[in-house]
C-alpha cells in the first residue's frame, strides 16, 4: 500500500496562507504599487488622473449626449467608478497573477495563494488614494456623506472578499486555460454595462430590473451610491447576503487553488 500525501486543507482554513505570509503580501503590494507607474512622467498622479479621465468620458456620454438628467452626475458616477476601477483592475491583474508569478513558483517553494490577493490589495490602495477626489466633488455639490460613511468599511470588506475569491478562481483557471487572460477584459466590460454603475437602476427595462437588482455587484454598487450620492445607509439585509455570498466565493476559490496548486509548477 503506497501512502497518500496528507491533506492539510483543514489547517489552512484555520490559518490561511495569506495570514501566515502577511509580510510577503505587504512586500508584494508595495512593489506592485511602485512598479505600476515606474517610468511614467506623472508617476503617482495617475492614481488621481485615471478616475478623473474616466469620469470625464462617462459624464460626456451619459450626461451630455444621452441626457440622462441625473442631478450631480459627477458625484453619482464617481461613487460607482472608484469601486469599479478597484474591481476591474484587481480582477484583470488577478487573472494573470499566478502565470506572472511563474518565476517565483518554479524556483522556490512559494505560497501560490498570496498571488491573487496581492492585486486586490494594491488596487484597494489605489482606490483609497483617489477617494479625496470624490470627497471634493461631494463638497462642491453640497453632499457631506455624514454618518452613513460608517457603513463604508463593511461594503468594502465584502467587495474585497468577493474579489479575492474571484481572483483566485480566475488566476487558477488561467494557468491551464490562458484564454481567460484574453477574455477577462471583455467580461469585465460586459459586467460594467450590465450593472447600474454609470446609470441608475431605474433606466433598465422593468422586466429586467428584478434580476439586475439582486446581482451581488448591483447590491455592492448601490451601497456605494447610497453612501456617497444619496447620503443614506445602505440596505444592510441585502448587504449581509452579499457578505455571505462573498465568503462562499472566497472559500470556493481557496479550495480550488489549493487543489490545483500542485500542478502550477508543472504547468508554468
Amino acid at each position: 500500500m503506497i501512502p497518500r500525501p496528507v491533506n492539510t486543507f483543514g489547517a489552512r482554513l484555520v490559518r490561511p496562507t495569506v495570514v501566515k505570509y502577511r509580510w510577503l503580501v505587504l512586500e508584494m503590494v508595495s512593489r506592485d504599487l511602485k512598479s505600476r507607474y515606474r517610468r511614467s512622467a506623472l508617476g503617482l498622479c495617475w492614481t488621481l488622473l485615471n478616475p478623473i479621465l474616466y469620469m470625464s468620458v462617462y459624464s460626456l456620454v451619459f450626461s451630455f449626449y444621452l441626457r440622462a438628467g441625473i442631478e450631480a452626475y459627477v458625484v453619482f458616477v464617481m461613487s460607482g467608478l472608484l469601486p469599479w476601477l478597484w474591481f476591474s483592475g484587481a480582477i484583470s491583474d488577478g487573472t494573470a497573477s499566478i502565470v506572472s508569478g511563474a518565476s517565483f513558483l518554479r524556483g522556490t517553494k512559494f505560497p501560490a495563494a498570496v498571488l491573487p490577493v496581492v492585486p486586490v490589495l494594491s488596487h484597494l490602495m489605489n482606490m483609497l488614494f483617489s477617494l479625496p477626489i470624490l470627497f471634493i466633488l461631494m463638497a462642491i455639490h453640497h453632499r457631506s456623506g455624514g454618518p452613513c460613511l460608517l457603513a463604508l468599511p463593511l461594503v468594502m470588506l465584502s467587495q474585497g472578499l468577493l474579489m479575492a475569491g474571484i481572483s483566485s478562481i480566475a488566476g487558477t483557471y488561467n494557468v491551464f486555460y490562458r484564454d481567460l487572460q484574453q477574455l477577462i477584459g471583455h467580461l469585465l466590460t460586459l459586467l460594467m454595462f450590465l450593472h447600474p454603475i454609470m446609470y441608475p437602476l431605474a433606466t433598465i427595462p422593468k422586466s429586467m430590473q428584478t434580476y439586475v437588482e439582486w446581482s451581488p455587484l448591483t447590491i455592492l454598487f448601490r451601497s456605494y451610491q447610497q453612501i456617497f450620492y444619496e447620503g443614506v445607509f445602505p440596505d444592510f439585509r441585502k448587504l449581509s447576503l452579499v457578505c455571505l455570498f462573498s465568503v462562499g466565493v472566497l472559500l470556493l476559490g481557496g479550495l480550488l487553488l489549493r487543489r490545483q496548486e500542485e500542478y502550477f509548477a508543472d504547468s508554468l
Binding site: I2, P3, R4, P5, V6, K20, Y21, W23, L24, L26, E27, M28, R31, S35, S103, F104, L105, R106, G107, T108, K109, F110, P111, F176, Y177, R178, D179, L180, L183, E261, E262, Y263, A265, D266
Partner: protein
Amino acid sequence: MTGSIVLNRVGKCFRRYPGTPVTTLKEAVLHGWRRGGRADQVEALKDVSFEIPSGTVTGLIGRNGSGKSTLLRLLAGIYRATTGTVEIQGRVSSLLSLGLGFHPDLTGRENVRMEGLALGLTRRAVLEQMDEIIRFAELEDVIDEPVRTYSTGMYMRLAFSIATTVDPDVLLLDEVMAVGDASFAEKCRARMERFKNRGKSILLASHDLAMIETWCQGALWLDRGELKYHGPAGETVRRYSESLQVPSPTPVT
C-alpha cells in the same frame, strides 16, 4: 531529528498532453472539459524510498533526465509527490536551477527580501540578515541594481548566499558549484563544511563525480526515475561509472 530526510515510496507523475503542451479553451471544448482525461502520464520518479540522517552530505548522481532535479524540487516543496510521503525535519533551503526564483526586474536587495519572506521569515529577520547575505555574495556595489543586469556568477553568488545564510536544516544544491570563480568556490566549500559540522544535511546533485567522492559520505544513484543504488559515495560512484563504461575518477585532495 532535525535535518533528516525520509522518503517513503515516492512517485511523481507529470501530465503530458499529446501535441501542444499548452491547453487552450478551444482544445478543451473540442475534446471535452474533463482535464487530465486524455492526458497521459510521465513517471519522473518511481517508488523512491531512502533515509538520510542529519549531519551528512549526500550526493545525487545519474544521467540527464534521470529525475535528479525532480527529486530536489520535490524535497524543496516546489512539486508535490503524486504518491508516497516526503518527511523532512526542519527548514529546507534550496538552490536549484540557475536563474529561477529571482524576479529579473527587481533589484538584488528586493529579491533577497522576497525570497526571505517566501521562506517564511519575518520582515525583521530578513532585515537582520540582509547585510550578511550581501557581504558573503560580495555584491555591495550592485545590490540596488535590477538582477537582470547581473552576470551569471553574480546571480549564483547571491542565490547561494541567501540559501545558506537563512540557516536552513536541509540544504539542496543542484549542479551549482560549477559556477563562480575559484575563491568564491572555496568560500562555498568552507560554508558547507561548517554546515555539516553543525549537524545539518546537504543534498548535492552533480555530474562532477570526483567532487561527489571527495565531498559526500553517501550518494544516491537515480536511473530513469528509479533509485538504483544508495550507499557510500565511493561505491555509488564506482557502480555508476561502470554503467557509463568510463573509468572511475581519482579523487582530488
